[in-house]
């Protein structure tokens, strides 16, 4: 009998390798970093091989695991992102303050996500959920700011507590922790379903960074170490999608809320969730347009994209859920690739401020291509994976006639052209600043994961059915209608899409253009500074580079818009005032207050005695 690989083995293996990474990093930094590269790859292979044994239950000590279709899908995305990003760890070891702790926490975060996706009962889900929160909370301060971690923890605690409340409420009502079982039971009880939907939904929204819980996301992503931002954006945030998926689709919400008021084809509770998604699309887009920091810009774009995911999941029809899954997948790949490109730029130049960079295409052409593919996917332009998901989401929005939500989605979709183009223009194109003349190409080991991610983005843009068939199986496994296909075509409700054909036609167009280009006289190569300046002589490339406050005319229009962080600051002030009063009243060492409480206590005691 050979060694049978089960979920338990993988989790234990990852835990052991986390400890191993810690010990080895203490001895030799690079060796320890290689452990973080190898472990996710081995886990990826193992989980991939477990494809055939979906539906099996595993147990590890007191924890129960079940490999579900969606658990497998989410785990694959997560492992892919972790495995690709881990190559960067090798280069960041010297820059880290605590490399050993980083490596251990990195693998613990991975363990947490896998455990959460495969947990059979809510207790396992909660334990591993907390493992994600705690490990990432300790990693974030290794970057630029400690405060970001505090903000992250504050929001995560809110989400975790809401989830815990939901779990205990459900246990109280149905006497079980088993996820599938409890959710199916909850679907028959509207009140329980509502509580579960809101509490676990909040946990998911916090993790996804949906408005109004979006504030931690740009802070954490922007300030986390460059190697951890792709994990946060591409991986951990998507765990929120998992939580929302549980209560919206596994439960399923359309059955639970069938008696509720139906609005635009969905129940009013779901519609409120959808509205939050719509608002976070608008807020994320507007804020992303404003940012000067490359990482914060992509972080806000994650807020906007989280909006699409939650809209898709909450609409709960075949196309929208399929779209949301495709979006989770496409955005995980694209944002991880974009963050890795930032990390490569930051590794070579030492900054992520867009106004300080420029013209890096002449030094880092491959990184540029990786970023280009990532943003094409993020903006939802064919032939990348992001287009497929947006198309599917738009289809179901139109079917339901959701005018306002669609307005937000269209705005976010067109607005994404703005914010994804800005780094392209300000960092990679334009004039090369003299201080970056000696910048070298990104190292080969960094290129490998970036190329893998870009390649997958293109591949699943051309042949999305590979993913969509899995998604369709997930949908049938939770009792929904699956997606429809016809060869390479995806059948939508009011039209169909053939991504392969689009790529073929685009290829033909490109070839015609190439032939026209090659037939005509060869161009003369000129220097980048030999450019139209109204015939004036200019010698400073920095001044000939347009990157500072790029969308100034557009930003001006909403610079006075209300800022959510102000509400939170006001709440914070109130909380700290109450806390101050409490500590003044109850924890003071001043004699008169102590005497006052003693008197009160005695009066109470005497009162109690007399009755």
């Amino acid at each position: 009998m050979g060694i049978s690989i089960g979920v338990g083995t993988i989790i234990v293996g990852l835990l052991i390798s986390a400890v191993l990474a810690y010990v080895l990093t203490k001895i030799n930094k690079t060796t320890g970093a290689w452990v973080t590269v190898l472990a996710p790859f081995l886990a990826l292979a193992a989980v991939f091989l477990l494809r055939d044994s979906i539906g099996t239950t595993y147990s590890l000590f007191f924890l129960e695991f079940e490999l579900t279709e969606y658990g497998w899908f989410f785990s694959m995305i997560m492992l892919l992102v972790f495995a690709c990003v881990s190559f960067f760890n090798v280069y960041w070891m010297k820059k880290m303050v605590h490399p050993a702790a980083y490596n251990m926490l990195y693998l613990l975060a991975l363990t947490g996500t896998l455990g959460a996706f495969m947990a059979k009962d809510f207790i396992g889900l909660f334990i591993f959920w907390e493992m994600i929160v705690w490990s990432s909370m300790f990693i974030i301060p290794f970057g630029k700011s400690r405060k970001a971690s505090v903000v992250y923890y504050a929001f995560s605690a809110l989400g975790s507590l809401a989830m815990l409340y939901g779990i205990f409420y459900l246990y109280n009502a149905f006497g079980s922790f088993n996820i599938q079982e409890v959710l199916k039971l909850a679907a028959t009880d509207t009140t329980a379903a509502l509580v579960a939907f809101i509490t676990i939904g909040i946990a998911g929204m916090v993790k996804l960074g949906v408005f109004p819980f979006h504030l931690w996301l740009p802070r954490a992503h922007g300030n986390a170490p460059d190697t951890f931002s792709p994990i946060l954006s591409g991986g951990l945030v998507k765990a929120g999608g998992f939580a929302v998926f549980l209560i919206a689709v596994v439960m399923p919400s359309y059955e639970a809320f069938a008696t509720q008021l139906q609005f635009m084809g969905v129940s009013i509770t779901s519609y409120i969730f959808i509205l939050f998604g719509a608002v976070s699309i608008v807020v994320g887009t507007l804020m992303a347009i404003k940012q000067d920091d490359f990482k914060k810009l992509i972080a806000y774009s994650s807020v906007a994209n989280a909006g699409y995911i939650i809209i898709g999941l909450a609409m709960t029809d075949a196309l929208s859920v399929g779209g949301a899954f495709m979006h989770i997948f496409a955005h995980a790949l694209a944002s991880a690739a974009a963050f890795l490109a930032v990390a490569a730029v930051s590794h070579r130049t030492g900054t992520t401020k867009m106004s300080e960079l420029g013209g890096l295409i002449h030094r880092m052409p491959l990184t540029y291509l990786v970023y280009l593919i990532a943003i094409i996917s993020m903006a939802g332009i064919p032939p990348m994976a992001g287009f497929i998901s947006k198309w599917m989401l738009f289809q179901s929005m139109i079917d339901n006639g959701m005018v306002f939500v669609a307005t937000a989605a269209f705005f976010g979709s067109i607005g994404s052209f703005l914010y994804v183009f800005r780094p392209l223009s300000a960092v990679f194109l334009g004039q090369l600043s003299p201080k970056h003349y000696k910048v070298k190409k990104a190292p080969v080991l960094m290129m490998i994961p970036m190329i893998i991610l870009s390649g997958l983005t293109v591949l699943f843009g051309i042949f999305p059915n590979i993913v969509l068939r899995i998604v369709s199986r997930i949908q049938t496994s939770v009792g929904m209608e699956g997606l429809q296909f016809d060869g390479t075509k995806i059948i939508g409700s009011n039209g169909s899409l053939d991504p392969t054909l689009i790529v073929v036609i685009f290829g033909i167009g490109f070839m015609i253009a190439l032939v026209i280009f090659l037939l005509h006289p060869k161009s003369r190569k000129v220097e980048l500074m030999d450019t139209y300046t109204a015939s004036e002589f200019i010698y400073t490339p920095e001044l000939l580079h347009y990157s500072h406050s790029f969308y100034a005319p557009f930003e001006r229009l909403y610079k006075n818009a209300p800022d959510t962080s102000k509400w939170y600051k006001a709440i914070l002030k109130k909380v700290s005032e109450i806390g101050g009063f409490v500590s003044y009243a109850f924890f003071s060492s001043k004699p008169r207050i102590v005497v006052f409480w003693i008197v009160i206590a005695m009066v109470a005691l005497l009162w109690g005695g007399s009755v």
Binding site: R524, D530, Y532, E536, F537, I538, Y539, T540, L543
Partner: protein, 186 residues
């Protein structure tokens, strides 16, 4: 002339043969309005004389333009910029000079900052005489340019390429150095 150069020349000639029909009837201008002759261009362009029926039109940058119009006297300071603009243009390119100032200095023949004859520094395809030239003369000059392009005589840009050293020497003699670098050009 080496073999390669001859092949290049041959290819150029072939292209010119095909393209001259289009070039002659689609001339985009870069107006370098240095002096008073520029005031005659609006009449030539608008409804009175309508330059567009010859296929001509104004363009914003030297990259897009086919012909550069030097309308009037050139101080050394302006000459530097004209040379820069001319060298930025794509080939083939033509240069039309307006008024006597570009021929022999005109009324500025004795001024210390004003050059006397532009053809020392840049090749000129067509001169338009008159101080200032009337719109009729301007239109006539453009018609001449079109005819010259059709007859393959508008070869100023080729002359400039072939005699680059001679032109460069003259430019350096008058200007000191071609590109100026001071506090205004940082």
């Amino acid at each position: 002339m080496s073999k390669k150069e001859r092949a290049v020349a041959k290819r150029k000639k072939k292209w010119d043969g095909i393209s001259n029909f289009f070039r002659a009837n689609s001339i985009w201008m870069l107006m370098y309005c240095t002096g008073c002759c520029a005031i005659e261009l609006p009449q030539a362009m608008t409804s009175k004389y309508d330059m567009e029926r010859l296929g001509m039109g104004p363009m914003a940058t030297p990259r897009q333009a086919d012909v550069i119009l030097v309308t009037g006297y050139l101080s050394v300071k302006t000459l530097r910029r004209v040379i820069y603009a001319y060298e930025q243009m794509g080939e083939p390119k033509y240069l039309v000079a307006f008024g006597p100032c570009t021929i022999n200095g005109g009324i500025y023949y004795d001024a210390h900052p004003v050059i006397k004859s532009l053809d020392q520094y840049l090749p000129i395809d067509v001169y338009i005489a008159g101080c200032m030239p009337k719109p009729e003369a301007v239109m006539n000059g453009f018609q001449d340019l079109i005819d010259m392009i059709k007859r393959k005589e508008a070869n100023g840009w080729r002359k400039y390429q072939e005699n680059k050293e001679w032109y460069r020497e003259n430019q350096i003699h008058a200007l000191g150095e071609l590109r100026i670098k001071d506090e205004f050009h940082e």
